[in-house]
């Protein structure tokens, strides 16, 4: 199949002469490195070109594919010390072309690498967590899905996926379109003209690849990022996606915790499943990229129930994993103000009006557990203003204005958390913090 980027070796270099095409070297190999945080793919192709002694010109062109022309690089892999890139010209009269002028002290075939940035290929992650009926352990799977919307067909490409957020100062698609034709819409006539007859042959080859064994995905750190390398090669046709399993862990024993944080989750307790991305939980081989997670439960009759679906943020190796399942109808809470008292009034004199006072409130949080197992609940509450706080149950300060406590509630039981809040209002307020007594 002919690929859209073309590398031509130009025969005559002397000024004023027509340039003649000599050869169209085939791609020997292609590697795709796909960045999930941006629409960016680094393509590296190797080809063999015939070079003569002295000056050579290589023309690289691409048609209706989004390539960033400022990113195209030429690197000799053989005879590197004898082949030197003199300059790169982007002819104004020929968009989507560039010409490399090369000085060679070597004559013959040489392997070279051409690399460039393109856009339109993306990858994403999705996860499934399947708990047992008692919700005590789960099977965890992560799948990587590569989607090709680039307009180009990639056959037998080595695929690498980068996890992490890189910095780009300009979008690849914008750079590509600055010096050439705009990318055609898939439904346009122009796009239809780009389809190749040999696509049928590519489909046949792709089907063979899909019948092969499941691919290994090798993970390794790369500076601040992680690289997932798919073993072997892949063919990814334009418009298609491919999904491969990247993470697997069985029998993961997780902790269940309830959190009552009105300022963050609303007025009801929210259930969390907690475990870690480390070896103790059968994970820890790599960070877990951002992705969508579905939590399901296998019931006693082997049917499945959906417990939650949420977007999971990146989880480093050995970092905690927290899955928010939302409120649980079997765990309810209520906050009741049992008494209020106001005193230490301060007055303005002209006219005489209250401008400050102290208020003491006795509060009780009641949490009821209808489940048939003990649960742990963590309560956080923000108290703005000048506050003194006390409770007979163990309480600490999470930060200058937030109290935190944790307690268990027996199965089919209820727990009460009493507290006293003394707050100074108006002109009586001197501070903005909680003092824990």
């Amino acid at each position: 199949m002919r690929f859209l980027p073309a590398l031509l070796v130009l025969a005559a270099v002397a000024a004023g002469k027509s340039i003649d095409l000599v050869t169209l070297p085939d791609r020997a190999s292609v590697q795709l490195t796909i960045y999930n945080s941006e629409d960016l793919t680094l393509v590296r192709e190797t080809r063999e070109v015939a070079l003569k002694l002295g000056r050579n010109e290589l023309q690289f062109s691409w048609a209706n594919t989004l390539i960033d022309p400022t990113s195209v690089e030429f690197r000799p892999l053989d005879h590197a010390g004898e082949i030197e890139l003199v300059d790169t010209v982007f002819p104004g009269a020929k968009p989507q072309h560039l010409v490399w002028t090369i000085d060679s002290r070597y004559e013959g075939m040489a392997k070279v690498e051409v690399s460039y940035f393109t856009s339109g290929i993306t990858w994403s992650m999705d996860y499934t967590a399947l708990t047992d009926a008692r919700e005590e352990s789960l099977a965890f799977r992560g799948y990587v899905r590569v989607s090709n919307g680039s307009g180009e067909e990639y056959e037998n490409a080595e695929v690498r996926l980068i996890v992490g957020r890189i910095n780009l100062v300009e979008r690849i698609a914008e750079l590509a379109q600055r010096r050439g034709l705009p990318a055609p819409a898939p439904e346009s006539q122009l796009f239809g003209e780009l389809k190749r007859d040999s696509a049928k042959a590519a489909f046949a080859r792709a089907e063979k690849c899909e019948q092969a064994a499941a691919k290994d995905i090798v993970k390794e750190g790369l500076s601040e990022y992680f690289m997932f390398s798919v073993s072997g090669t892949e063919t990814i046709r334009h418009g298609w996606s491919k999904r491969m399993q990247a993470v697997e862990a069985d029998g993961v024993r997780f902790e269940t915790l309830y959190r009552l944080r009105e300022h963050q989750y609303g007025p009801r307790p929210v259930r969390f499943f907690l475990w870690k991305n480390d070896k103790a939980f059968g994970l820890g081989g790599s960070p877990l990229p951002d992705g969508r997670l579905r939590v399901l439960r296998r019931n006693t009759d082997d049917a499945l129930s959906v417990l939650a679906e949420q977007v999971v943020a990146y989880v480093p190796i050995q970092a905690p994993i927290e899955i928010n399942l939302g409120p649980d109808e079997r765990v309810e809470s209520e906050m009741v103000r049992n008494s209020v008292r106001r005193y230490d009034f301060r007055f303005d004199n002209h006219p005489r009006r209250v401008v400050g006072w102290t208020e003491e409130a006795k509060i009780e949080d009641r949490v009821r557990n209808s489940r048939d197992r003990e649960i742990v609940l963590e309560l956080q509450r923000v108290h703005d203003g000048d506050v003194e706080y006390s409770s007979e149950m163990e309480t600490r300060l999470f930060d200058y204005r937030t109290i935190e406590t944790r307690f268990t509630i027996k199965p089919r039981g209820e727990t009460f958390y009493p507290s006293t809040v003394v707050r100074r209002h108006g002109a009586s307020q001197r501070q903005n913090r909680v003092a824990l007594n």
Partner: protein, 401 residues
């Protein structure tokens, strides 16, 4: 087919008739040398050298152009040498002089009257400013696998939309040597200007709460940790040959398999000699820092004047398999505004007991922008990652509402 030069230097052998008609072409001296000076960011100066045969007495030299975007008022015509035998020698005083220059109406042309004491072949330099022949700079850095050194290539990109062609021209970017680049009209040419093989590089991790705010609703007390590569433009660090002009820098990392992986790009700011260049690559998501305010107490002074005592607590976890140093920037003016009152200018402050002992702190970015430096061990092979706690206990002084 190559274009004809649009800029033409015509040697007029017969004086203009009293009726005003100009005599046409006698000779078309070719450009012996062209230099394009791109040392000024806003102006491009082209200097051409030609050998012009002159008669004894008065000669009219017609300099004209068609579509090239020459600034007419900038054109300078300078006789510099005269041929003597096979070589050229410097002019003697008054040997060849420009008497005046005329501006024909409605033409892209100038006519120089050149007086020569003897018939000779004179080397002249014609220089002029031209529009839309521009420069930009770009960098390509490749770090080694350990990220301790990188190779840095500096490129000059010359973009020519001036309407003129400059085959065989030499270009000077304002530093380094002159490079050959003959951009045709409409072309961009990218040339390697400089190469440094082994430049030491440091990775800097920065946390600045007020610059980026909360990471997400799920993690309201965490914020981004950014990673920069920092290199120094001096001889000791393999650079220091010239100030590094601003340009887009793309950074790659050797992947250990003969190839490279792209790490990110940034606009490198102009970096003078002996100064640091910081290149922002992206977020370091394996270094997690959360920030809470542990204490917030107002201390009245007099009337509405008060001090504000604040204890900031940072909890930092390094999930990387390498050690790192985190620079925590605390914007004290914003801290004062949030918890006390905005100071009229930079806030006064002092560090109180209760801060982490031995805390490394610097105010190199300004008195209200202290940076705390926290060394982090790599994650252990077994066991939990250490949660490093750092307390910054500070008194913000003399505030009022």
């Amino acid at each position: 087919m190559r274009k004809l030069f649009l800029l033409a230097l015509l040697l007029v052998v017969v004086l203009v008739s009293p009726a005003g008609a100009r005599v046409k072409l006698a000779a078309l001296p070719r450009r012996e040398r062209i230099e394009i000076q791109l040392d000024h960011g806003a102006f491009t100066l082209v200097e051409e050298e030609r050998v012009v045969p002159l008669l004894k007495g008065s000669n009219l030299v017609d300099f004209s152009w068609a579509a090239a975007q020459v600034d007419k008022d900038s054109v300078l015509f300078r006789p510099v040498a005269v041929r003597q035998g096979e070589a050229f020698r410097a002019l003697a005083d008054g040997e060849v002089e420009v008497a005046n220059v005329a501006y024909p109406p409605n033409e892209n042309a100038l006519v120089f009257e050149v007086l020569s004491k003897e018939a000779c072949a004179a080397k002249v330099r014609v220089s002029y400013l031209i529009r839309n022949l521009q420069r930009a700079f770009a960098y390509r850095a490749v770090a080694d696998r350990d990220e301790t050194f990188l190779s840095l290539k500096s490129y000059l990109v010359v973009g020519n939309r001036s309407g003129e062609e400059f085959p065989g021209a030499r270009v000077w970017a304002g530093f380094g040597g002159r490079v050959e680049a003959g951009p045709n009209d409409g072309d961009d040419v990218r040339i390697l200007l400089d190469r440094a093989a082994r430049v030491p590089v440091k990775k800097a991790y920065t946390f600045d709460w007020y610059a980026h705010g909360p990471l997400s609703a799920e993690k309201p007390f965490a914020s981004k940790v950014l990673m920069h590569y920092v290199l120094r433009n001096d001889e000791k660090n393999g650079l220091g040959r010239f100030a590094l002009p601003a340009g887009k820098a793309r950074i790659f990392l050797e992947d250990g398999k003969g190839g490279e992986a792209f790490l990110g790009e940034d606009w490198g700011l102009g970096t003078p000699l002996d100064d640091e260049m910081r290149l922002f690559l992206g977020e370091a998501r394996d270094v997690v820092c959360t920030r809470t305010i542990e204490k917030n107490e107002r201390r009245p002074v007099e009337g509405n004047l008060f001090h504000q005592e604040i204890k900031v607590r940072y909890e930092i976890e390094n999930f990387k398999d390498k050690a790192a140093t985190l620079d925590i920037v605390e914007q004290l003016n914003n801290l004062a505004a949030e918890y006390g009152a905005r100071a009229p200018g930079d806030v006064e402050w002092e560090v109180l007991e209760g801060s982490t002992p031995g805390l490394r702190l610097s105010t190199h970015k300004g008195c209200a922008l202290p940076a705390l430096f926290v060394d982090l061990a790599p994650r252990p092979k077994e066991g939990a990652v250490e949660k490093r706690v750092v307390i910054f206990h500070v008194l913000l002084k003399n505030l009022w509402n």
